[in-house]
C-alpha cells in the first residue's frame, strides 16, 4: 500500500492564457482518503480535470499508479462522482442504466454487457442500497439516492482512484454515513480517494490526508499536521468561515444518539 497512486509534478494549467493552477505538486499514496480544500475558483475542479485528462497541463507531469493519463483512461482507473448540479435529472435513463455506464470502458464497441458487467452493476447497487430502486428514472430519486446512484457507478467501474466533487451537498445523513463507511472500506482495499468539499468539519472525521489549494497547492499531508488554522486562513485568504464553531453533522448525530441511550 506504500505505492504512490497520484503523482503530480509541477503541473501548470492555463485556460486562454489565464493560469488556473500554478506549478502544483502532489504525491498521494494508495489507500488514503484525501480532502481537497479551497475556495470556489481556487483550482479544485481544474485539478480534477487535469487528473482525468480533460485539460492538458502547459507544463509538468501527472502519473496515476505510474501510468500516463491516456493509459489511465483506457484502463478505467479513475472514477468520478459528479456534483448533483452537473447532472440532467430529467434525462430518460434508469438507475440501472446509469450504473451500467460505469462498465462501458470494459465492453466492446456495441457496449453489450456480459455477465461480469451485470454482476458488477448489481454489486455496486447493493452496496449503496439502491438495487430495489434500479428501475426508477433518476429524476424520481431523493438527493441522497441520486448521489448513491452515481457512487454505485463509480463502484461498478472498479477504478482504484475515486474523485468525488462535493459528495455531501444536499444529502441526507443516512447517505452521508453510508458513503463514509464505504469510503473507509475502499481505503482498506487500497483505493485512493480524493474529495473536494466545503464541509471543513467533516474532513477531520474521515480524511487522513488534506490538500490545501489556492491557485497552487499550498500544503498537503496528514490531516493532523496540515489542517491547522494558520494554513486554512492562507487557503481562504483570512476568513476561515465557520470552521471552529461548526461540528460535523455526523458527530452531532452520534452525540444525540449517545444522549438518547443514556
Amino acid at each position: 500500500m506504500d505505492a504512490t497512486s497520484i503523482d503530480i509534478e509541477n503541473v501548470t494549467v492555463a485556460y486562454h492564457g489565464k493560469v488556473a493552477l500554478h506549478s502544483a505538486s502532489l504525491q498521494l499514496k494508495a489507500g488514503t482518503i484525501c480532502g481537497l480544500v479551497g475556495m470556489n475558483g481556487a483550482g479544485k475542479s481544474t485539478l480534477f480535470k487535469a487528473i482525468m485528462g480533460f485539460v492538458k497541463p502547459a507544463s509538468g507531469r501527472i502519473l496515476i499508479n505510474g501510468l500516463s493519463i491516456r493509459r489511465v483512461q483506457k484502463s478505467n482507473l479513475v472514477a468520478y462522482v459528479p456534483q448533483s448540479e452537473e447532472v440532467d435529472w430529467n434525462f430518460p435513463v434508469s438507475v440501472h442504466d446509469v450504473v451500467m455506464m460505469g462498465r462501458y470502458g470494459y465492453m466492446n464497441l456495441l457496449r453489450i454487457p456480459r455477465s461480469l458487467d451485470k454482476q458488477a452493476v448489481r454489486e455496486g447497487l447493493e452496496r449503496v442500497g439502491m438495487w430495489q430502486m434500479r428501475d426508477r428514472q433518476i429524476g424520481e430519486l431523493s438527493g441522497g439516492q441520486k448521489k448513491r446512484t452515481f457512487f454505485a457507478r463509480a463502484l461498478a467501474q472498479q477504478g482504484t482512484v475515486l474523485l468525488l466533487d462535493e459528495p455531501f451537498a444536499g444529502v441526507d445523513i443516512k447517505t452521508e454515513k453510508m458513503m463514509i463507511d464505504l469510503l473507509m472500506e475502499l481505503r482498506q482495499a487500497g483505493h485512493t480517494i480524493l474529495i473536494s468539499t466545503h464541509d471543513l468539519a467533516s474532513i477531520t472525521t474521515f480524511c487522513d490526508q488534506v490538500v490545501l489549494i489556492n491557485r497552487s497547492i499550498l500544503a498537503y499531508g496528514d490531516t493532523s499536521e496540515v489542517f491547522t488554522e494558520e494554513n486554512l486562513s492562507r487557503t481562504f485568504g483570512g476568513s476561515v468561515g465557520d470552521f471552529s464553531s461548526a461540528k460535523s453533522r455526523l458527530t452531532q448525530t452520534n452525540l444525540n444518539q449517545g444522549q438518547e441511550e443514556q
Binding site: M52, P82, S94, Y104, G105
Partner: protein, 291 residues
C-alpha cells in the same frame, strides 16, 4: 368519402407512392436523430445546420455531385465557423449561431439566384416530395441507411455523450469523435429532410418528434420508438392530407407533428399538463390532510 377510397385513391399515382415512401423514410430517420437533438439541447444547432447546408446543395448541383456531399461540407463547416467565432470573440453563442447560419443561407440564396433556372428555390425552401426524382430517392435511402446504422452502432455511446460527457471522457471514450458524428448525421439528415419538407421546416422534423416522445417516456429506447412512430405517422398522413386538400406537403407534415406534440403536452400520462395539475392537487390535498 369512403375511408378505404381515401387511402387507396392516391396510391394509383406513382408519384404518390414514391412520396409516401420517401416521407415515411425521412420521418423515421429524422425522428430517431431528433431524440439526440432534444436531449443534447441542440435544437438551435439543428436549425443552424439545416439552413447552412443551402450553399452546399446549390454548389453540388452546379458541380453535378450528390447534394449530400455539398450539404455535409457546409453543414460541418458552419459548426466549425460557429465554434471558432465563439471561442475567439466575446460574442455569445446564440448570437454567433444566428449570424453564421443566416450568412451561409444568404450566400446560398445568392447562388441560386445566379444559377440557371433549373434549381427551383421554392423546391429547396419548401420541399418537393411529390415531384421527387429517382436519383433523389436513392440518395435518401443511402442517407437513411448510413444514419440508422450509425445510430444503432453508437447508440449507447451517443446517449452517454448526451447525458454525461465528463464520464465518457474519463473512461477514454473519444467525445470529439461523437460530437462530429452527431453533427455529420445532422447535416446528412438535413438533406434528406430538405427533399420532403424543405430547408425551412426541416428543423421541425429534427426536433418535434423527439420533444413529443420525451414527454411520453422515461426510457431512452422507448422514446426513440415513440418518436419514430409519431414521425412516420405525421409523414404519411401529412402526405395524404396534402394530396386531398391540394396543399403544401411539408406544411401538412409539420402541422401534424405539432398537433401530436400538443396532444402529448396536454395528455401525457406523467409529464403532461393535466397529469401535473392533478398531481399538484393531490399533493395539496395530502398536505391539507396532514394539517
Amino acid at each position: 368519402m369512403d375511408l378505404v377510397q381515401w387511402f387507396a385513391a392516391p396510391l394509383q399515382h406513382e408519384f404518390m407512392v414514391k412520396a409516401i415512401f420517401v416521407s415515411a423514410l425521412v420521418g423515421v430517420v429524422c425522428s430517431a436523430l431528433s431524440c439526440y437533438m432534444t436531449l443534447k439541447g441542440w435544437a438551435l444547432m439543428g436549425d443552424a445546420v439545416s439552413h447552412a447546408v443551402l450553399p452546399g446543395v446549390v454548389l453540388a448541383y452546379i458541380l453535378n455531385i450528390p447534394f449530400a456531399i455539398g450539404a455535409f461540407v457546409f453543414g460541418v463547416g458552419s459548426v466549425i465557423a460557429i465554434g471558432f467565432i465563439k471561442s475567439n470573440t466575446r460574442i455569445k453563442e446564440d448570437t454567433v449561431i444566428g449570424l453564421v447560419f443566416t450568412g451561409f443561407f444568404a450566400f446560398g440564396v445568392v447562388l441560386i439566384s445566379k444559377t440557371t433556372s433549373t434549381v427551383d428555390l421554392s423546391h429547396i425552401l419548401f420541399g418537393n416530395v411529390l415531384g421527387i426524382s429517382d436519383s433523389d430517392i436513392i440518395q435518401t435511402v443511402v442517407i437513411s441507411i448510413i444514419t440508422l446504422v450509425t445510430l444503432a452502432i453508437l447508440r449507447k455511446d451517443l446517449v452517454l455523450f448526451c447525458f454525461d460527457s465528463t464520464h465518457a471522457q474519463s473512461i477514454g471514450i473519444n467525445i470529439g469523435f461523437l460530437y462530429y458524428v452527431l453533427l455529420s448525421l445532422l447535416s446528412l439528415t438535413a438533406v434528406a429532410g430538405l427533399q420532403t419538407v424543405g430547408i425551412i421546416l426541416v428543423v421541425a422534423m429534427l426536433v418535434t418528434p423527439g420533444a413529443t416522445a420525451y414527454l411520453l417516456s422515461d426510457r431512452f429506447d422507448q422514446m426513440v420508438w415513440i418518436a419514430m412512430a409519431s414521425g412516420v405517422f405525421s409523414s404519411v398522413m401529412g402526405t395524404y392530407i396534402s394530396y386531398h386538400i391540394d396543399g403544401s406537403t411539408g406544411g401538412c407534415i409539420v402541422v401534424l407533428q405539432t398537433l401530436l406534440f400538443l396532444v402529448a403536452m396536454i395528455f401525457a400520462p406523467k409529464h403532461g399538463l393535466l397529469a401535473q395539475r392533478s398531481k399538484m392537487q393531490s399533493n395539496l390535498t395530502t398536505e391539507e390532510l396532514h394539517k
